[in-house]
Symmetry: C2
Subunit: 344 residues, 2 copies
């Protein structure tokens, strides 16, 4: 199976290297054969070819079985004609990666990292299913000096396919799906809610409730453990998944999967490119390693290998010296070595 | 000066009664003459006249010096042809109430109410300035069975006038303005950011920074005390102001002001209509009383009266028996009496 690595910008290359080492170690133990290739993307794509998503990178992505991304962006491209983030949006669209899965949980032994009181955050374990190729992100845009416009549309088919992912995910978890919208204000949200309700009869084993996005933003802070699976549209998902990650105290520890109906998925840590610490071996590779595990599970259908890697990451987080962001003194590469040691 | 009271739905009437009693008590002590009138609005408007914003209510609102609103909404109107919330959106638009001020702070003696650890929430004192008559809320909508659309537009003039409110508010506080947008994705956000930056040279005493909305949703949980004034567009403001309120543990304690360029302002607690406890004298009137203080300050330009009422509310919260939502045993009316006692 072929894995394309897009190291990207800032701390992207270092955490991607850690993820790759873990994938190689797991492959060896599980008797899997992975071939790795690399391509420029994001700011690195702009520097190499003038494009955040170079044509050749896109072709390599289309041909891969799964894609790993480090991180994109940085201040040096703030005034570039094209921005690194456009590469990410372009890749999502080109590969039809409509489903973004963002599991958020509190890691054992790391409960104290949450900014919430321990009794508030106890039991929080949420999967956010974010629609990723529709809504305001990809609507018509008009940009003038005195007026600007963004269009937001959703079709029933677009809502159905992401809602189905949410229902199925809930079936494999606690059977609870919370659909988040702003149906008291938005037409697209009313279509969203109707579509989710129409589908719910096909999933009698899933309990559905609906929250307005403002209420959801509150409940994630006051009662994070009330959620099982959240399904929501692109922009709401962007906001709520980041909010949920910090509620769990886990921004540096979490991975994400972006999946299409077919073709390769894209796997990336949820943290940014952190240019301030790039190249200093300070970055925590945990989010990248968690993403590598998701790549194994959802991208290559290798659940045993995924379990093994997740267990190793959790063991290292629990027992070994942690990186500075978690209050430890380990370098990023040293922590990656700890994870590797638990894989063996 | 004339004050129109819109009791609205659920717990709206009870908390509005408490607010009115406080306004009367303060007026007496300060030698002010207020005349009060009342009109149906929201669900109560639908029940009385078939409209959430009856024509006569709108006329009374236009004629008033300031408007106090209890709360709107409730499940009994979920399937009504018009919804209570439409009355609120209609009133905002009709009166040109483009500036929503939502101060969020942790009350002395109530620090423990925050779901955040005390050291995380210490010092949090944020004013959220939300644009209230533009963006997705008031854009073109299309609603079909298979497709839906919401348009989002902003003009430079719309952004300027709300940004100015933000800059001026920052001048009267700690001199720090954080503008929140999603300029890496949205055309309207890029216009927003440019407009804020263009204005900033006129306010050399204000430090400006920009955050993407996902980063802002994180920072409100991880470092709420980093903020002074936040200025943002309508939908982001809806989400972030509710998130900020629960971070401070103060959802039942906070008021809001919605102001136009001229004409009466609208003042309402940020909590909802809480139909489950309506009519049982359980509702905490603090948010309504805080809103009444904002009505005095921003609506009627009576800062001394506002200070007096705020001091009385804070004293009652600190020294007297609190309502059930704050862990106490006081009825809502009893707590209102405590506040009245501190006014004298
Ligand atoms: C970089 C940005 C365009 C992107 C988004 O908003 O989708 C990021 O915040 C994310 O969540 O992956
Ligand atoms: C009731 C609803 C339409 C309203 C809004 O979204 O503006 C409310 O959430 C608010 O914040 O005042």
């Amino acid at each position: 199976q072929s894995i394309l690595i897009l190291p990207g910008d800032g701390i992207g290359p270092e955490v991607a290297a850690a993820a790759k080492a873990c994938l190689q170690a797991v492959a060896e133990l599980e008797g899997l054969e992975f071939t790795f290739s690399e391509a420029p993307f994001g700011g690195a794509g702009i520097d190499a070819c003038g494009e955040p998503l170079p044509e050749e990178t896109l072709r390599a992505a289309e041909a891969a079985d799964a894609i790993f991304l480090g991180a994109v962006g940085g201040p040096q491209w703030d005034h570039a004609p094209k921005r690194p983030e456009q590469g990410l949006l372009g890749l999502r669209k080109a590969l039809g990666l409509f489903a973004n899965l963002r599991p958020v949980k509190v890691f054992k032994g790391l409960e104290h990292l949450s900014p919430l009181k321990e009794d508030r955050v106890a039991g929080a374990d949420v999967l956010i299913v974010r629609e990723l190729t529709g809504g305001l992100y990809f609507g018509e845009k008009r940009e003038g000096d005195d007026e600007a416009f963004d269009g937001c549309s959703y079709s029933r088919a677009e809502v159905s396919r992401i809602a189905e992912i949410g229902f199925k995910a809930a079936q494999g978890r606690k059977g609870k799906l919370t659909s988040v919208d702003k149906a008291n204000v938005l037409a697209t949200s009313r279509l969203w809610r109707k579509t989710v309700n129409d589908l719910s009869s096909q999933y009698p084993d899933v309990t559905v409730d609906h929250l307005y996005v403002d209420a959801a933003a509150m409940a994630l802070v006051t009662h994070p453990a009330r959620f099982d699976v959240i399904v929501t549209e692109n922009l709401f998902g962007d906001i709520l998944s980041d909010e949920a990650a910090v509620v769990a105290g886990s921004i540096g520890l979490l991975g994400s999967a972006s999946l299409g109906a077919s073709g390769p998925g894209l796997f990336e840590p949820i943290h940014g490119s952190a240019p301030d610490i790039a190249g200093q071996d300070k970055a925590n590779p945990s989010g990248a390693i968690a993403s590598a595990a998701m790549l194994l599970r959802y991208g290559l259908d290798q659940p045993k290998a995924a379990d093994r890697l997740e267990a190793a990451l959790e063991a290292a987080l629990l027992h070994d010296e942690r990186t500075a962001d978690l209050g430890g003194t380990a370098k990023g590469s040293a922590f990656a070595q700890s994870v590797l040691a638990h894989i063996q």
